[in-house]
């Protein structure tokens, strides 16, 4: 594989420079929405104008957890649910990095839920992109903490009945400074939201509702990926600035989309430096110190 950035021309897929071509083909099923979100992500990165050498992507485990493996960035495929604390260490050891966590609902919100709420509370300066397909895909279609009643899943053969997380509400109430939701039907809006989230200082969160034709659509007799797109088109309601208490997902009901939160709050590192400066005084040198290469952080 050669350096793709030298191949730019009118006929080159604009996403190509962001992909590890030597890892293709990918594992995602026909009609899956994850690839669509990766397209949006690549475009968002292009439009962001960032130096890609300073962009790192961290994933957990699951179908969306494979995104890190295909992204031609410094990329980390970590343990189940733990992408956020890994990203926290990465960001804090090198605050010049732009760190993006890219994972699924099962990974980020169930097993990783504790890390998600604390990173949002701290306002850790990372972007979290959650592809929410309403179940566990990689392991074969089990119910997740976002599966709405009465959707069927392999571990909910008579239908899910637990109250699902509303991810924007969770992120908002924990202190995220940017919260948006779109579906894979809304590629331009998703791209824009990703771009804004990446540019935002602090804990930014983008949820993308995405179809799992193999497991969710089929088991619930909802048709294929195309029919999911028709559902997203017909039942998405754009409500920018909506109260996140009112944006919960119901089975085949309206999907409230838009940017719900965009506010300012000191990041963890700003707060750390601020507190230490106040308490220690003029002798405190704000973190990170420049020019202490070889001596760690």
């Amino acid at each position: 594989m050669s350096e793709q950035t030298t191949q730019e021309g009118p006929h080159v897929n604009p996403v190509l420079p962001y992909l590890r071509e030597d890892r293709m083909p990918h594992i995602w099923c026909p009609g899956c929405g994850i690839g669509t979100t990766v397209n949006c992500f690549a475009r968002a990165l292009t439009e962001s104008g960032l130096d890609l050498d300073n962009v790192a992507i961290v994933s957990g485990i699951g179908c969306t957890g494979r995104v890190a493996g295909y992204a031609k960035l410094d990329s980390f495929h970590t343990t189940h649910g733990r992408a956020i604390p890994f990203a926290t260490g990465l960001k804090l050891s090198n605050p010049d990095l732009k760190v993006i966590v890219y994972s699924g609902d099962g990974d980020l919100m169930a097993i990783g839920g504790n890390h998600f709420i604390h990173a949002a509370r701290r306002n850790m300066d990372i972007t979290v992109i959650c592809v929410n397909n309403l179940l566990y895909g990689m392991t074969g279609g089990q119910a997740s903490s976002t599966t709405p009643e009465p959707a069927k899943a392999t571990t909910a053969p008579y239908g899910a009945f637990e109250n699902p997380f509303s991810l924007p509400f969770l992120a908002d109430s924990c202190g995220a400074v940017y919260v948006a939701r779109w579906t894979t039907y809304h590629v331009r809006q998703t791209t824009k939201a990703m771009k804004e989230a990446i540019a935002k200082k602090g804990f930014s969160f983008v949820e993308i509702i995405s179809p799992c034709p193999t497991l969710y659509q089929r088991r619930n007799k909802l048709g294929d990926g195309l029919q999911a797109m028709q559902y997203y088109r017909d039942r998405s309601v754009v409500k920018t600035g909506a109260d996140t208490r009112d944006v919960g997902i119901t089975f085949q009901g309206d999907i409230i989309c838009g940017k719900f939160v965009d506010r300012e709050r000191p990041t963890w590192l700003d707060a750390y430096n601020g507190r230490n400066t106040t308490a220690i005084g003029a002798t405190y040198r704000p973190y990170p110190w420049r020019g202490n290469e070889g001596q760690g952080a």
């Binding site: 030597d22 050498d53 790192a56 493996g69 980390f76 260490g89 952080a297």
Partner: protein, 385 residues
């Protein structure tokens, strides 16, 4: 290279083992720590939280030990020397990421100030019952290195060694303190920075596009990298090839796992470390480590006063175990006696290495306090009967 003088409090101090461990980490170049409070280790992170901000470092208190044990790895892949600190219940939660550190070959240090277990056990009282867990506790086959200090001075000295070993072999190094050593206050001499040897991280010198994260180099260990160098590297907890790409088959598994094992197993002679006292000509050789070593020494003197030829083989590096040396001793001594604050963990290893060449005896203790030297003495007298 030599230690950064900024992190070295040269001079004579009166410190407990926990504080000395923090100073050792600073001398070793550690400037990042993630942790979650747990007795009896908490004084380490408390001192870190106070000291690191003055030295260009950073401490973050995470939401749990699971997070701590991977946040430190994120920090390492961002370029820091990093550690986390815990005790038994926290160590149990960290098992997931000891395995991750082993497979990603993340150079890092886990400090375990051991207390009595199982479960919540004896939060404020000592134990040495995490010795097998730390070796085998995460799923799959892997290797770690573990050290056990017996004094606050060694908490300082060996913490530096722990970081150096982590960098040399690119694996998680387990620093196996115990509540006694952690809370015991003694004289600690911190040498001048130019007398402290620090192993710097061996970063790749390869040009962009040519770096392979798991291509073995010196010591069978790949060169390191950090995010932001332009290599656009990928690492994964899945079984992977030299590119770091996942490969899910038996051939890749054999190649990867074999090297993770061999880099310790085949180089164990350079890693093992122990201290001997009057082993030559001894009829009974006492084995011990950590605080138990100091109690065993007392029992040894008592036995020698009774005319029994007793020697001591004290573990400094517990994992890998000094198998060859134990074999040699077992061929000459009448008995080897393992004294440890658990119901028989390193004893199993000693017994295995002795291969029936001599009698092997366990002097167990369930934890909560140190052994009574009289009990060890009785075991020695029984062993030579």
């Amino acid at each position: 290279m030599k230690a950064d003088p900024a992190g070295v409090q040269t001079g004579r101090h009166y410190l407990d083992g926990n504080h000395a461990c923090c100073e050792g980490a600073l001398a070793a170049g550690c400037r990042f720590a993630a942790g979650y409070p747990i007795t009896p280790s908490t004084e380490i992170v408390e001192r870190i939280a106070g000291r690191f901000p003055h030295l260009g470092g950073l401490f973050i208190q995470m939401e749990d030990e699971i997070a701590s044990s991977i946040t430190l790895q994120g920090a390492v892949w961002g370029g820091a020397k990093a550690m986390t600190v815990t005790s038994g219940p926290g160590l149990s939660l960290m098992m997931e990421h000891i395995g991750l550190a082993a497979v990603l070959e993340t150079p890092c240090v886990f400090v375990d100030v051991q207390r009595g277990g199982p479960s919540t056990g004896l939060p404020t009282l000592p134990g040495q019952a995490d010795m097998m867990q730390v070796r085998w506790g995460s799923h799959g086959d892997y290797q770690i290195i573990a050290l056990a200090p017996s004094s606050p001075q060694e908490c300082f000295d060996f913490t530096i060694d722990a970081f150096n070993l982590a960098e040399t072999y690119r694996l998680p190094v387990m620093f196996m303190m115990d509540e006694c050593v952690g809370h015991m206050t003694e004289r600690v001499d911190i040498p001048p920075a130019d007398q402290i040897e620090v192993v710097p991280r061996r970063y790749t010198q390869k040009p962009r596009g040519e770096y392979r994260p798991y291509e073995p180099g010196e010591h069978m260990v790949p060169d390191m990298v950090k995010a932001g160098m332009g290599h656009r590297f990928h690492i994964t907890g899945l079984t992977h090839d030299e590119r770091g790409y996942p490969v899910i088959n038996a051939v890749a598994q054999d190649k990867m796992v074999r090297r993770l094992i061999d880099k310790v197993r085949l180089q164990a002679d350079q890693i093992v470390r122990y201290e001997e006292d009057r082993v030559e000509g001894a009829d009974v050789v006492l084995m011990s480590y950590g605080i138990t070593y100091r109690v065993a020494l007392r029992a040894m003197e008592m036995a020698r006063a009774r005319g029994v030829k007793v020697g001591s083989l004290r573990l400094i590096v517990c994992w890998p175990f000094p198998e060859k040396r134990v074999q040699e001793i077992a061929a000459k001594a009448k008995a080897m006696v393992m004294v440890e604050m658990n119901m028989g963990q390193m004893y199993l290893e000693m017994d295995r290495a002795a291969k029936n060449r001599c009698k092997t005896v366990l002097v167990p203790h369930a934890g909560g306090t140190v052994h009574d030297p009289e009990v060890i003495l009785a075991a020695i007298m029984e062993a030579v009967r």
